[in-house]
């Protein structure tokens, strides 16, 4: 279980009069204390642990920032592998939401079904990267040779483990199936609708004001997805839609995520169908020294916009690394959205924002 955040609210006759989230209980200073004394390859292992439910997706904007400063072109096959694994991480993150959110409202059966499928997705991630939660798989200029890829002597030719593409295709089929199951069990459930429709409504303009991003923003009807806007990865080569909600209530936030699982599964299938061959990694010096400069690179994390502001003064260690994490900004709307909410709805609203403590406190 992830550690709980403290929720400070005052109540007046079963209505909440606002509240604030005293963040910082899980503070580990990844950006200051940890990152600014370590070399770039070491930090990749650390950024895994920010949003630990989708560890792989955290690495992408970070290596992207380094590659931008170094001005490296990443080989296309590496980009495809990154993209497939990012979408797998997205599916796994949203499946955690699909399992835990009904649980917070008292329905415990979806938990097991969604977690089972997530396990298969994590197995895929593990077969490539060797890690379920913390892959540490990206390298500056490409990806690491895969875990099941064969002899370590052939470093640059090692590739995805045998049968991975077929297994991933089959797993995506199951993921789409479980989405249908969840729809039948939860989405149409009268009591689930009663608990979520019209609860915790966030208008699109308010969401933008507070810096809410990701599925939470799209549920409010704002069609903004960094994968379509400015992406490090070749998302423009794929055909997928951005699901948006209408009212920005808990139900929309839930439905948008379920739809995103479907879209992500579609992207993975397309990527499997046309993954190019080629090298896994660009030529990068063995001792990595990043030229002086600044870069802010962001990407669409499952939780929202994740960005790294990197300042380098040359050398092997960053001068300053500022992490913009999605959950922290998404939580900032809590005082506004909790104002006047019913106490039993606090759980429904908090759960629907789908935050991860490591992502809040970094």
């Amino acid at each position: 279980m992830p550690p709980r955040t403290r929720k400070a609210t005052t109540s007046d006759r079963d209505r909440s009069s606002g509240g604030h989230a005293p963040v910082g209980c899980c503070r580990i200073d990844r950006d200051r204390d940890a990152a600014e004394v370590r070399t770039y390859p070491q930090i990749i292992a650390l950024v895994n642990r920010i949003d630990w439910v989708s560890g792989f997706a955290n690495e992408i904007p970070f290596v992207g920032a380094i590659e931008k400063l170094l001005d490296i072109e990443v080989p296309e096959r590496a980009q495809y592998i990154r993209l497939i694994l990012t979408e797998l991480a997205r599916i796994s993150s949203h499946l955690v939401f699909a399992s835990s959110y009904p649980l917070e409202l008292g329905a415990s059966t979806p938990l097991m079904h969604a977690m089972r499928e997530r396990e298969h997705v994590l197995e895929l991630l593990e077969s490539v990267t060797g890690g379920r939660f913390h892959p540490n798989f990206n390298r500056v200029g490409g990806v690491k040779p895969a875990a099941g890829g064969g002899s370590t002597m052939k470093k640059l030719t090692q590739d995805l483990p045998a049968g991975f593409l077929a297994a991933a295709d089959a797993a995506m089929h199951n993921v789409l199936d479980i989405c249908d199951d969840i729809d039948r069990l939860v989405t149409g459930n009268e009591l689930f609708l009663a608990r979520t429709v019209g609860v915790g409504e966030i208008p699109g303009a308010k969401a933008i004001e507070y810096g809410v991003t990701g599925p939470n923003l799209r549920a409010s009807g704002v069609k903004f997805d960094l994968r379509k806007v400015e992406s490090l990865l070749p998302y423009d080569q794929f055909d997928f839609e951005i699901p948006v909600g209408n009212n920005g209530d808990c139900f929309d936030r839930y439905v948008v995520r379920i739809q995103e699982i479907r879209q992500a599964a579609g992207i993975v299938r397309q990527a499997i169908a046309k993954i190019p061959s080629g090298p896994l990694r660009a030529k990068v010096p063995r001792i990595l020294k990043v030229p002086p400069g600044e870069a802010y690179v962001r990407a669409e994390n499952p939780k929202g916009e994740m960005g790294y502001y990197l300042i380098s003064e040359g050398g092997r260690i960053p001068y300053r690394l500022k992490i913009r994490s999605a959950s922290f900004s998404n939580l900032s709307i809590l005082p506004w959205v909790l104002e006047g909410a019913l106490i039993p709805d606090l759980v429904a609203i908090l759960g629907s924002l789908d935050f991860v403590l490591g992502d809040v406190d970094r």
Binding site: H113, N189, F192, R195
Partner: protein, 338 residues
């Protein structure tokens, strides 16, 4: 036979049937919920199918420390679990298991059942008040509010049955279902098989929903909603006393299912049997009907999320009570006119 000896036998019968009944339901819930969630469930305890899991759980709780909070009202705190258990066990006194096997056939049986079954909420309120814990208190108060709201539709649903049967004795109600005429409007061949679940289908629905709420099971488990109230009125309880609550909950499930089976599904009666045969198979028939209703309760529990407190009250006052009143009106109309 000596009065006291007979009494002892009857009490032994009630305890001997109901406590294992509760254990069977607990085991059923463990297994059924597991299969609904693609799990296996208990597997090792007892050698096969994990049949001894409820016993093992009970034994584990026996070994735990019996904690009493420092600020608790000790007497009330210690008494509460037994009040809960007593309330549910007392309902079994009048359940007819077969034409002759009735621990006590009261003329006011239905009235007695409804009165006694709401006693257990008193125990819940006692637990909530005496624990000296804010979550317990809120859970207890929610339970009390829930009881007041759902006792009414429960009673209204039963009144329909009482009107149709023309009696408040549970044995008479079963007999009435065995020999019911469809208000003299249906053709002759339909008059044979008609437990009240067919004509009183509205009443049955209301009764099942309201008894779910009385048992405070999901979707009506606001009193122990763990995401808001930790464990509600159970928060401070541990060890044996927690087990008492736990058993009380499932014994309550058995008793509610038994009442529903008797009132609406024809109790021990099956079509085509009578006399001595019914005396023999009656208990089995009743228990299988109880199991069917218990399965329904378990199924609902593992399918639905919980209702919010205001939605729960709205459901009772705006939907169930008017529906129950309308049901009485229609039943009485048919009863008088035809």
């Amino acid at each position: 036979m000596n009065f006291w000896l007979l009494l002892l036998v009857k009490v032994g019968l009630v305890l001997g049937v109901m406590m294992p009944g509760a254990l069977v339901i607990i085991f059923g819930e463990l297994k059924i919920s597991a299969h609904m969630q693609s799990r296996i469930g208990p597997y090792f305890a007892g050698g096969r199918f994990g049949w001894a899991q409820p016993l093992a759980d009970g034994l584990k709780f026996l070994q735990k420390e019996d904690l009493v909070p420092a600020d608790a009202d000790r007497t009330v705190y210690k008494l509460a679990p037994y009040v809960v258990l007593m309330g549910t066990l007392a309902t079994f006194v009048i359940i007819p298991f077969s034409p002759d096997l009735v621990p006590r056939d009261l003329d006011l049986g239905v009235f007695y059942v409804l009165a006694v079954s709401s006693l257990s909420t008193l125990g819940v309120l006692m637990a909530g008040w005496s624990s000296a814990n804010k979550y317990s208190l809120m859970g207890g108060l929610r339970a009390a509010a829930q009881l007041i709201a759902y006792e009414l539709p429960l009673v209204l649903a039963v009144i329909g049955v009482a009107i149709q049967a023309g009696s408040l004795s549970l044995n008479d109600i079963v007999t009435a279902q065995a020999s019911w005429q469809w208000f003299n409007v249906a053709p002759e061949w339909l008059n044979v098989i008609s437990p009240f679940m067919i004509l009183q289908v509205v009443g049955l629905t209301i009764f099942l929903i309201a008894s779910l709420a009385e048992l405070s099971r999901i979707p009506f488990d606001m009193p122990i909603a763990e995401s808001e109230l930790t464990m509600g009125y159970l928060t401070e309880y541990s060890g044996m006393r927690f087990t008492m609550f736990f058993l009380g909950e499932y014994a309550g499930l058995v008793s509610m299912a038994a009442i529903a089976a008797t009132l609406f599904l024809g109790g021990y009666w099956v079509p085509g049997l009578d006399g001595d045969v019914l005396n023999f198979v009656g208990p089995v028939v009743l228990l299988s009907k109880v199991m069917i209703i218990a399965f329904l309760f378990i199924w609902l529990r593992w399918t639905f999320p919980r209702l919010r407190e205001d939605q729960l009250q709205t459901l009772a006052w705006k939907w169930l009570i008017p529906a129950g009143l309308a049901n009485i009106l229609v039943t009485a109309f048919f009863r008088v006119v035809f």
